[in-house]
């Protein structure tokens, strides 16, 4: 090749090298777009690492493209490169890249910022380019074509602007961005190449005789040339791969995060629903507890109260804080308090349900009868963790019960009086027997005393008998009087056999008169029962009189009445059996109904009252038709 001193040296391009440089530009662009996403996604020191690494890889890429482009340009004279300047150009490229990455990874990218950014970035790239040219050491001088230089700078700005916008746009990584990213990389790579080759075209090399200063200069062998390309590609590939792995990991993490968030949202929604339901339920329960017609409370295992419902507070007028602990005891009537405390403490100690009646003070100071009941709540180990209870107002019921009892007592008394009326003849007989003996004995005594020599031994005997018979008559009268009196029912310990004997004495004449023979089969070791002797005698009299009535028309067989007493588990069992016609099975239950009677002159109250008397003693009274006659039986619980 001829070297002219006046004409610019004509250079030629090795097009395969050009192609490689364009490829590197595209790769570098792709890496830049890719890394922008990473930098944006990362935070803290990871972000700085990505920024630094990214900038290095991207800067290297741009620089390598440039250098490749330079090497593709072949001049007829040898060219060396001043390597410190080459390194400076690399540094500028890296700084420009770092700046670019920083700009696109910001939250916002306005037009002004994009323009300023692209200006700075363009000046970096242009700077790198021209510094790279300045690193050339060859026997020629540079001449720059101003229009083409301007054009190359304009390209750089346009390229930078486009790069920033594209990178900013593509930094949010989605699936669709991959193809767009490749397209954008191709565009950007082309733009970088265009800027470079425009810049190269703006330089003309004038031959010079002056030998270049070759200090720190090095020529690039083809091996070195290819080495740069290979290292660059490796670095870029490594950057893209790392970025891709990181992205995948991040994507996975994000996916997990999203899933987690989704679950959290779902669970939160569920919890909100459940909470709402719970609150509704709680409100409903509270409403129920507050409005049920009872005073509701709960107490701790030691007996101190920890809850009262609204009705309790309203009834007692006691503020919640005063009632809690042991304060609620103050509303119990002083007379009922010790009994209540005993029951309550017994229940606490035994851990058993309790059930006690007591008067509770209303807010206005009036006391009303309440039924207090409590049950323990236990944990799975059986330990009591709480006591729940209600107090129910039974004032009205109590009054009704009392009135009913009173009415019952009156009715029982009336029937007793009626029974006594029926028994008047028998009773007169029982009183007249001892009276007859008394009068006769007394007359005997008078006669003896009228004698000159009274038989003193006989006198003494007669007088002793008078005293005995007087006592006997008096006993009969007091029994009758007791039956006719209307006293409050009482509970005393009594011997049923003795009661049966007394009834036999009262009814002996009635039995005799009706030619009824009475047989008593009484258990010897009968336990005592607690009861009202008058009421129980009334039951026995009623059953015996019924037996007599049932046999009144009997002519074909013996009129026999059997009274039996026996011990039966924890009960005393009494049976009165006649030998009459027996009971019509259909009547066996009806006879206990009030005003039901099978007797022409009966009023139908006897058995009804007898049954309620027995039941008030905790026993049962029933009738059976035996093999012969009717069998009335009742039980009484023993103490």
């Amino acid at each position: 090749m001829l070297i002219s001193a006046y004409a610019a040296m004509s250079g030629s391009y090795d097009y395969s090298e050009v192609a490689r440089s364009v490829l590197i530009a595209i790769l570098a662009s792709y890496a830049a777009l890719d890394l922008a996403g990473r930098v944006t996604a990362a935070r803290g020191w990871v972000r700085s690492a990505w920024l630094t690494g990214g900038a290095a890889a991207m800067g290297l890429g741009i620089w390598a493209m440039h250098f490749k482009g330079m090497l593709a340009f072949q001049l007829p004279i040898p060219v060396s490169y001043h390597w410190p300047t080459v390194l400076l150009s690399l540094l500028v490229a890296i700084l420009a890249s770092a700046f670019a990455l920083y700009v696109v990874s910001r939250q916002k990218l306005g037009l002004v910022r994009a323009l300023v950014g692209s200006g700075i970035m363009a000046s970096g790239i242009s700077g790198m380019h021209y510094i790279g040219i300045a690193a050339m050491r060859l026997a020629a001088t540079f001449r720059f074509h101003p229009l083409l230089v301007t054009l190359s700078v304009a390209f750089a700005i346009a390229f930078s602007f486009a790069a920033l916008m594209l990178a900013f746009d593509l930094r949010e990584e989605t699936k669709q961005t991959a193809s767009r990213k490749i397209a954008s990389a191709i565009v950007m790579g082309a733009a970088v190449s265009a800027m470079h080759y425009t810049g190269m075209a703006s330089v003309s090399f004038m031959p010079s005789a002056i030998l270049p200063n070759l200090t720190h200069a090095a020529s690039i062998s083809s091996l070195g040339n290819n080495g740069i390309a290979i290292v660059t590609v490796i670095v870029l590939a490594a950057a893209v791969l790392t970025s891709s792995l990181d992205r995948q990991a991040e994507a996975e993490l994000r996916h997990l995060n999203e899933e987690l968030e989704h679950r959290v949202v779902e669970r939160t929604t569920e919890l909100v629903v459940v909470n709402d339901e719970l609150k509704k339920l709680k409100d409903e329960l509270r409403l129920v507890i507050d409005t049920i017609p009872a005073l509701v409370w709960s107490k701790l295992p030691d007996g101190s109260a920890d809850f009262f419902n609204q009705r309790f507070r309203e009834y007692t007028g006691l503020p919640l804080e005063e009632g809690l602990g042991g304060g609620w005891m103050s509303v119990i009537h002083p007379e009922d308090r010790s009994k209540f405390e005993d029951e309550w403490h017994a229940a606490l100690v035994a851990g058993e349900t309790f059930d006690v009646e007591a008067r509770l003070r209303r807010a206005d100071g009036q006391y009303r009868q309440f039924l207090l009941r409590g049950v323990p709540l236990r944990d799975e180990l059986g330990k009591i963790i709480k006591w729940y209870g209600t107090s129910t107002d039974i004032e009205e019921r109590k009054r009704t019960e009392e009135a009913l009892q009173e009415a019952h007592a009156r009715l029982a008394h009336i029937t007793r009086v009626m029974a006594m009326g029926e028994l008047a003849a028998a009773i007169a007989h029982e009183v007249n027997q001892p009276l007859a003996a008394i009068v006769t004995n007394a007359n005997f005594c008078l006669r003896q005393l009228a004698n000159a020599t009274p038989n003193l031994e006989k006198l003494r005997e007669a007088i002793a008998e008078i005293a005995n018979d007087g006592t006997r008559a008096s006993a009969v009268i007091s029994r009758i009087r007791a039956l006719l009196q209307r006293g409050a029912p009482e509970r005393v310990e009594l011997d049923i056999n003795q009661l049966i004997q007394e009834v036999n004495v009262l009814l002996r004449d009635e039995l005799t008169r009706n030619r009824v023979s009475l047989r008593a089969d009484l258990a010897a070791d009968l336990p005592r029962v607690s009861g009202d002797p008058i009421q129980l005698q009334q039951v026995l009299i009623n059953l015996v009189m019924n037996g007599i009535d049932a046999m009144r028309t009997l002519t074909d067989r013996k009129r026999e009445l059997l009274i039996k007493s026996a011990k039966n588990h924890s009960e005393v069992f009494i049976q009165v059996q006649d030998s009459g016609e027996g009971l019509d099975p259909q009547q066996a239950e009806r006879i206990f109904e009030p005003f039901f009677t099978t007797k022409p002159e009966g009023i139908g109250m006897g058995l009804s009252i007898s049954r309620s008397i027995v039941e008030s003693h905790g026993g049962r009274l029933w009738a059976e038709s035996g093999s012969r006659g009717a069998r009335f039986q009742f039980t009484l619980p023993t103490k």
């Binding site: 003849a425 028998a426 007169a428 007989h429 029982e430 009183v431 007249n432 027997q433 001892p434 009276l435 007859a436 003996a437 008394i438 009068v439 006769t440 004995n441 007359n443 005997f444 006669r447 003896q448 006989k458 005997e461 007669a462 008998e465 005995n468 018979d469 006997r472 004449d509 005799t512 008169r513 030619r515 023979s517």
Partner: protein, 211 residues
């Protein structure tokens, strides 16, 4: 006849009343036997012992009135004094109609009971006397010949010997012999005597076959 001392039988289920009666009756020198039930009394009673029965109306198993009827049916003619602690008018009427001596309500006056016992013993004694007279009469009657028995109703109907003879178709003399035999055998002092005896024996005056 009266050489055996009468006994006052007492049947009452009340021992106290029984003993009181015993004391009272013994104090007037009478013998007393006490029984709690009619059965015990029946076992102890002997026909040849004179006495009376003090009977309570109310007895275990049966009433005193029923027992009275049973005694009558068994031909035990003992005089009965009823005592009762509670008697009513129908009961009293029934007892008295059935031949009771007295019906006393407890408590009774001692003298009332003693009087009733006295009366009952007298009645028993009288009955026994009457019974023995009847027995004698029957024995005498048995000793008569058939012809004498034949003319007895005609004699007590007040017919003359001639009329009797005409009735029997025999002679007046024969009738006269039979008649004196009859009077002698029967121990009758007069016609009136014989009429009374015939009445006791239940022999009614014959309707004469007057020609």
């Amino acid at each position: 006849m009266n050489d055996v001392a009468p006994i006052v039988f007492v049947v009452d289920d009340d021992p106290s009343v029984r003993r009181a009666i015993e004391r009272l009756v013994e104090s007037v020198g009478l013998q007393v036997e006490l029984f709690a039930s009619p059965q015990e009394f029946l076992q102890a009673w002997r026909r040849d012992v004179p006495g009376c029965l003090v009977l309570d109306i109310r007895l275990p198993g049966k009433s005193g009135l029923d027992f009275q009827r049973e005694l009558a049916e068994a031909n035990i003619p003992i005089p009965i004094i009823f005592i009762t602690a509670h008697g009513d008018i129908p009961m009293t009427v029934r007892a008295m109609k059935s031949g009771a001596v007295e019906f006393l309500t407890k408590p009774f006056r001692d003298q009332d009971l003693l009087d009733a016992i006295q009366l009952a013993l007298e009645r028993d004694s009288a009955r026994r006397k009457q019974d023995s007279e009847m027995a004698t009469l029957r024995e005498l009657y048995k000793s008569l010949t058939p012809r004498e028995r034949e003319i007895l109703p005609l004699v007590v109907s007040g017919l003359l010997n001639k009329q009797i003879a005409a009735n029997l178709g025999t002679s007046e003399a024969t009738v006269k012999v039979h008649r004196s035999q009859l009077m002698r055998k029967m121990g009758a002092n007069s016609l009136a005597d014989l009429v009374r005896m015939a009445e006791k024996l239940g022999i009614r005056a014959a309707k004469p076959n007057v020609p």
